[in-house]
C-alpha cells in the first residue's frame, strides 16, 4: 500500500469516527442513533484492517474486522429491538422523550 492510500484510509477512519461521535451528540431519533453507532463500528473495523496492513498482518486485520462487524451487528439488533419497544410503549422514537430519569 502506498503512503497516499494509507493516508486516505486514515483520513476515512478519522472522519468516520468524527461523524459518528458528532452524530451521537446531535441525533434525536433512536433509529438514527443505532445507525450512527454502526458508522462508528465501521470506522473501528476499517481501523483494525488498516492496523493489520501497517503491521504487515493483513489477514489478522481482516479477520478482526469481520469479527467486529459480526459482534456489533448483535448490538445493533438489540438496539433496534429496544427501539421497537420504545415505539410501541411511548409512541415515539425521539430520545428526548426518554429523559424521565434524571437528577
Amino acid at each position: 500500500m502506498n503512503p497516499t492510500t494509507l493516508k486516505l484510509c486514515l483520513m476515512a477512519v478519522l472522519s468516520l469516527v468524527g461523524i459518528g461521535l458528532y452524530g451521537l451528540m446531535i441525533c434525536r431519533n433512536l433509529i438514527k442513533m443505532v445507525i450512527v453507532l454502526q458508522i462508528l463500528v465501521k470506522a473501528a473495523a476499517l481501523g483494525l484492517i488498516l492496523a493489520g496492513q501497517m503491521s504487515s498482518q493483513i489477514n489478522l486485520g481482516q479477520s478482526l474486522g469481520i469479527t467486529v462487524i459480526v459482534a456489533d451487528t448483535i448490538v445493533a439488533v438489540v438496539g433496534m429491538a429496544l427501539a421497537v419497544q420504545v415505539q410501541r410503549r411511548l409512541g415515539t422514537l425521539d430520545v428526548d422523550a426518554l429523559s424521565s430519569l434524571r437528577g
Binding site: 461521535l21 451521537l24 451528540m25 446531535i26 441525533c27 434525536r28 442513533m33 430520545v95 428526548d96 426518554l98 429523559s99 424521565s100 430519569l101 434524571r102 437528577g103
Partner: protein
C-alpha cells in the same frame, strides 16, 4: 489470667449484645435480666483485671499483612478506662430496667449499649493503633445509633447523625496519625511508637500530634467541635449518662493522656491543648449558665469538666486528668441518672416548668445534691480532690493566664450548679408535679453512685500506683492518698479555689440584686445560647454541601446526547492531559 479477663471484659458485653438481640422483643423480662447480668459480669471482670495490670503485651494475635498484630495491653490507663466503661455502664443498664420498662425495641437498645461498653473497654485495652481505631469507630457508631434511638423524632435522628459525622471527622486525625506511625515504625503497636517517638522526624511527629488532638477534641466534644454533644440529649437518659460518664467522651481525654509522652515536646502542642481546655472549660460553663433544658445544662457542664481534664493533660498533670475523669464519670453519671429519674417521672426536661420537686422526690433530690457537691468541687466529694489537683498542677506547670481562666471557670460552675439545683428542686412550685419518687432499680444505681462520690477519692493512692507501675513512658509522680489530701489542704491554691467557688454561689444568690449587671451581660448570654456561632458554621457546611449536590444533580440531565458529550469530553480531557503532561 490477665488475657482471659481482658477478653471477658470486651467479650461478655458483646456476647450479651448478641443474646439480648437474639432473644427478641417478645420477651422483655429476659432482655432486662440478660442485659443486666452480662454488663454486671463484665464490670466484675474488669475490676478483677485491676489486680493483673502490667505494662507489657498480654495477648498477641497476628492478623497478617497490612493489619499488623492484634494486641491487648493491660496497663493502668487502659484497665482504668475499661473499669469505668464496664462499671458505670452496668449501673446505667440497671437504671434502664426501670427507665425503659414497657418501651419498644428493647433488643436494639440493650444490644447497642452492651456493644458500646465492650467497644469502650476494647478501646482502652487495645495495644494496636489499628484496632484502637476500630473500637473508636465502633463507639462512634453506637453513640449515633443510641442517640437516634427514637428514630421517629427527626431531632433525635439529626442529633445522632451529627454526633457520628463530627466524631468521625475528628477520627480522620487519628486515622492519619495511625497511618503515618505505621509508615514510620513499620507496625501499629502503641508501645513501639512511644519508645521510638523521639526518632521520628519532628515535622512528621507534629502532624501525628495534631491529628490525634483533632480526634480527641471531636470525641471529647471540646471547642470548636463541641456542637454534637448538646444535640445528643435527644437520647434516652441512661444512654446520655453512658455517653457522658462511662464511654464516648472519655475516649478523647484517654487518647491525649495515652500519647502524652510522645507529644510532650512537640512545639505548640501543649499550649494548644491548654488553650482548647481553657476555652471549652469557660465557654461551656457560660452556656450551662443560660441553658434551660436540664439535660442540656448537664451536657454543657460535661464539656466544661472535660475541658479541665484536657487542660490538665496540657499542663502535664496526666494523673490529675485521669483522676478527674474517674471522679467525673461517677458524679456525672449520678447527675444524669437522677436527672433522668426526674424527667421520667415529671415528663419534661424544661427547668422553667419544674421547681419545688424536692418535696415529692426527696431521694432524687438527695442524690442530685450529692452529685452537685462533687461537680462544684466541695470537700469530701471526689470532685474536690481531683479538681484541686488539676488546678494545683496548672498553677505550678502551666501558663498563668490559663490558670486564672480555669479558676474563673470553677466559680461559674458553682453558679450554674446552684442555679440548676434551685430551679429543679427548690424555688416555688412550677407547672409540673412528681407523682412518686424513684423506683427500686433506679435507686440501686443512684445509691451506688452517690456512695462512689464520697469514696472514690480514697483510691487516689492506689490509682496512682496502678498508673506509675504500668506506664513506663509517662514519668508520673503520685503519692499516697493521705499525703495527697494533706498536701491539698495545706496549699493556698486550694483555699483560693474554694473562695472563688463561694463567690460563684454568692453570684447566683444575689442574681436578683445584680439585675443591672445581668442586663449588661445579656448580649453575652445570647451569644452563649447560640453556642458562640459554632452552630452557624455547621449549618453553613451543610448548606454548601446541599447546594453543591443540587448543582451537580442538574448535570444528570437524563438526555442521551448530553451523556455522549460527557464521554467525548472525558476523552478530550485525558488526551489533552497526556499531550501537555499535566
Amino acid at each position: 489470667m490477665a488475657t482471659f479477663l481482658m477478653l471477658l471484659t470486651i467479650g461478655l458485653p458483646w456476647i450479651g449484645a448478641i443474646c439480648v438481640w437474639w432473644i427478641g422483643d417478645r420477651r422483655p423480662r429476659w432482655q432486662h435480666i440478660l442485659a443486666t447480668g452480662f454488663s454486671v459480669a463484665a464490670g466484675a471482670a474488669s475490676i478483677l483485671l485491676l489486680a493483673f495490670s502490667s505494662s507489657g503485651v498480654a495477648l498477641r494475635i497476628p492478623v497478617g499483612g497490612f493489619f499488623g498484630d492484634f494486641t491487648l495491653v493491660p496497663d493502668g490507663l487502659g484497665v482504668f478506662l475499661a473499669v469505668i466503661a464496664a462499671v458505670v455502664g452496668s449501673l446505667a443498664v440497671i437504671f434502664s430496667v426501670d427507665y425503659m420498662r414497657g418501651k419498644q425495641q428493647l433488643g436494639r437498645y440493650y444490644a447497642l449499649i452492651l456493644l458500646f461498653i465492650g467497644a469502650m473497654a476494647g478501646l482502652g485495652l487495645s495495644g494496636s493503633l489499628l484496632f484502637m481505631f476500630v473500637f473508636w469507630e465502633i463507639t462512634a457508631f453506637c453513640s449515633y445509633a443510641l442517640i437516634s434511638f427514637h428514630n421517629d423524632d427527626p431531632k433525635a435522628v439529626a442529633g445522632g447523625i451529627k454526633a457520628l459525622i463530627v466524631t468521625q471527622l475528628g477520627g480522620i486525625g487519628l486515622l492519619i496519625g495511625a497511618l503515618i506511625i505505621r509508615s514510620q515504625t513499620g507496625n501499629y503497636q502503641i508501645l513501639d511508637f512511644l519508645a521510638n517517638a523521639a526518632s521520628i522526624q519532628p515535622s512528621i511527629l507534629n502532624l501525628i500530634a495534631f491529628g490525634f488532638l483533632a480526634a480527641a477534641v471531636a470525641k471529647s466534644a471540646q471547642v470548636p467541635l463541641q456542637t454534637w454533644l448538646p444535640d445528643a440529649m435527644e437520647a434516652p437518659t441512661p444512654v446520655t449518662a453512658l455517653i457522658h460518664a462511662a464511654t464516648m467522651v472519655n475516649a478523647g481525654v484517654y487518647l491525649l493522656a495515652r500519647f502524652y509522652p510522645a507529644f510532650r515536646d512537640v512545639p505548640g502542642w501543649a499550649t494548644s491543648v491548654v488553650t482548647i481546655g481553657l476555652l471549652s472549660g469557660l465557654l461551656a460553663a457560660l452556656m450551662a449558665l443560660v441553658a434551660n433544658d436540664i439535660k442540656r445544662c448537664l451536657a454543657y457542664s460535661t464539656v466544661s469538666q472535660l475541658g479541665y481534664m484536657v487542660y490538665a493533660v496540657g499542663t502535664g498533670s496526666v494523673f490529675a486528668s485521669q483522676f478527674h475523669l474517674l471522679s467525673h464519670s461517677v458524679f456525672k453519671a449520678l447527675l444524669f441518672l437522677s436527672a433522668g429519674a426526674v424527667i421520667h417521672i415529671v415528663g419534661t426536661r424544661d427547668m422553667r416548668e419544674m421547681g419545688g420537686l424536692g418535696r415529692d422526690m426527696p431521694f432524687v433530690r438527695a442524690v442530685f445534691v450529692i452529685g452537685s457537691l462533687a461537680l462544684v468541687g466541695l470537700p469530701i466529694a471526689n470532685g474536690f480532690f481531683s479538681k484541686e489537683l488539676i488546678l494545683e498542677g496548672g498553677l505550678m506547670h502551666g501558663p498563668r493566664w490559663a490558670y486564672i481562666g480555669m479558676l474563673l471557670g470553677a466559680g461559674i460552675t458553682a453558679c450554674y450548679t446552684l442555679r440548676m439545683v434551685s430551679m429543679v428542686f427548690y424555688r416555688k412550685r412550677g407547672s409540673v408535679k412528681a407523682s412518686h419518687d424513684a423506683p427500686v432499680a433506679m435507686r440501686i444505681s443512684l445509691g451506688t453512685l452517690s456512695l462512689g462520690v464520697f469514696t472514690t477519692w480514697l483510691l487516689a493512692g492506689a490509682f496512682g500506683e496502678l498508673l506509675t507501675g504500668s506506664l513506663p513512658y509517662h514519668q508520673l509522680q503520685t503519692s499516697k492518698t493521705f499525703d495527697l489530701a494533706l498536701e491539698l489542704l495545706n496549699a493556698p491554691a486550694t483555699w483560693l479555689a474554694l473562695l472563688v467557688i463561694l463567690l460563684g454561689f454568692a453570684l447566683w444568690m444575689m442574681h436578683k440584686q445584680l439585675k443591672p449587671l445581668i442586663v449588661f451581660l445579656r448580649p453575652l448570654s445570647r451569644i452563649a445560647e447560640n453556642r458562640f456561632g459554632f452552630e452557624h458554621l455547621n449549618q453553613g457546611v451543610i448548606r454548601i454541601a446541599r447546594s453543591l449536590s443540587s448543582v451537580l444533580r442538574r448535570t444528570q440531565t437524563g438526555q442521551l446526547n448530553w451523556n455522549i458529550v460527557g464521554i467525548v469530553g472525558g476523552l478530550g480531557i485525558v488526551l489533552a492531559l497526556l499531550t501537555w503532561r499535566i
